[in-house]
Symmetry: C2
Subunit: 191 residues, 2 copies
DNA sequence: ACTGTAGGCCAACAGGCGTTGACATAGAAA
DNA sequence: TTTCTATGTCAACGCCTGTTGGCCTACAGT
């Protein structure tokens, strides 16, 4: 069998430094403004190392934007607290990890990043929504609506930084937004 | 007095063509990928004309992203149909004019565009929300929440193009999203 | 008819970009 | 100790970008 967990290479620290710097820059500047040269400078190595390890800028972004929403099993959540659980989870998830901010910024202008974003929500979120079983015919629609509110929240809070949205405390946001998600997940239109 | 409505210059057609092409490109590609050369080519003029008429790329964008939400007077709307009115209005407004899409895409990566977006919603939306008078202390907060859902809808439908959100008919979207805005505008948290 | 000016094009600039290949070096393998 | 390979640096390439200034040309004012 091939060795799937090869022993640590000497270059692993460098690779990690590049990835960390890349995530920061992509999150702060978006895909096109985040230059390989700037990322390499942050990581204190030569730009050509980025090419050696990640092949191209696209390849670097693909590695840096690898992301798992880590959604909980919604089947194990009390059905009336689905919305609350989701908002809480998302707020925590991307407040501690700028990868999603990087993906979000890049998705606006980079077709590859947009595709990745579609996949992230089509696969992971739709799967989680399907996980609690009700109304299989509308799973995709419900997941899409949830995504619209969740991404809108992220967009206004972390990208555009609309003051009122930035200033609201997490608990306050949960109190307002949870019922929205709850209805998108379990309600009916115009309820 | 100075002539505030000077008679049409010969170049007005060119200026308009540039602006139209700029909006298209900014909407399709975002700020950095939309090049002056490409915009000029679309408008069938020389890139240097863009500079002559708009000074710089920033100046061109500022002119192309001039936008009025044209929000209705919410005081004249039946209080229980505020949400529906708003969603309908926004869907129509940006389905027929790509300026907002341009602004949205650009706001992700261009600080100036983000500032413009903040202003747009802080001024125009917050003003409209204040227009129906209830709960003046929370006007900004309510407007922010509305913006998060509205922009999230635009982001998923026109920028990332999440399939389920793209495929839903306007009426269907209204039926789902209107209650959300209605609650953000007139409800209380965790209602 | 003449002249001034506004409209438009062309060629070039300086700088930044992603990317490449040749070269040095240090540590593991022999 | 010698040899080889992984790690890293340096300098340059070709390309594209925003931007500039000089030069035609056609039209409006006289």
């Amino acid at each position: 069998m091939t060795d799937t967990a090869p022993r640590a290479r000497r270059s692993d620290a460098t690779r990690a430094a590049i990835l960390r710097a890349a995530r920061e820059r992509f999150a702060a500047d978006g895909y096109e403004r985040a230059t390989i040269r700037a990322i390499a400078a942050d990581a204190r190595i030569d730009p050509s190392m980025v090419m050696r390890y990640y092949g191209s800028k696209e390849g670097l972004f693909a590695a840096a934007a690898e992301f798992d929403l880590r959604l909980p099993d919604l089947g194990a959540v009390p059905p009336d607290r689905l919305g609350e659980t989701l908002v809480r989870h998302f707020l925590r998830r991307w407040e501690g990890d700028e990868t999603l901010a990087a993906l979000l910024r890049a998705a606006s202008t980079n077709p590859g990043a947009a595709e990745r974003m579609r996949r992230l929500f089509a696969d992971q979120l739709a799967a989680a929504v399907a996980g609690f079983g009700t109304d299989p015919a509308n799973t995709a629609r419900r997941a899409g609506l949830v995504a619209s509110q969740i991404l809108g929240l992220a967009f206004t809070r972390y990208i555009v930084r609309l003051p009122p949205v930035v200033e609201m405390a997490p608990d306050e946001l949960v109190a307002w937004v949870a019922p929205t998600l709850q209805r998108y997940l379990t309600g009916r239109p115009e309820s």
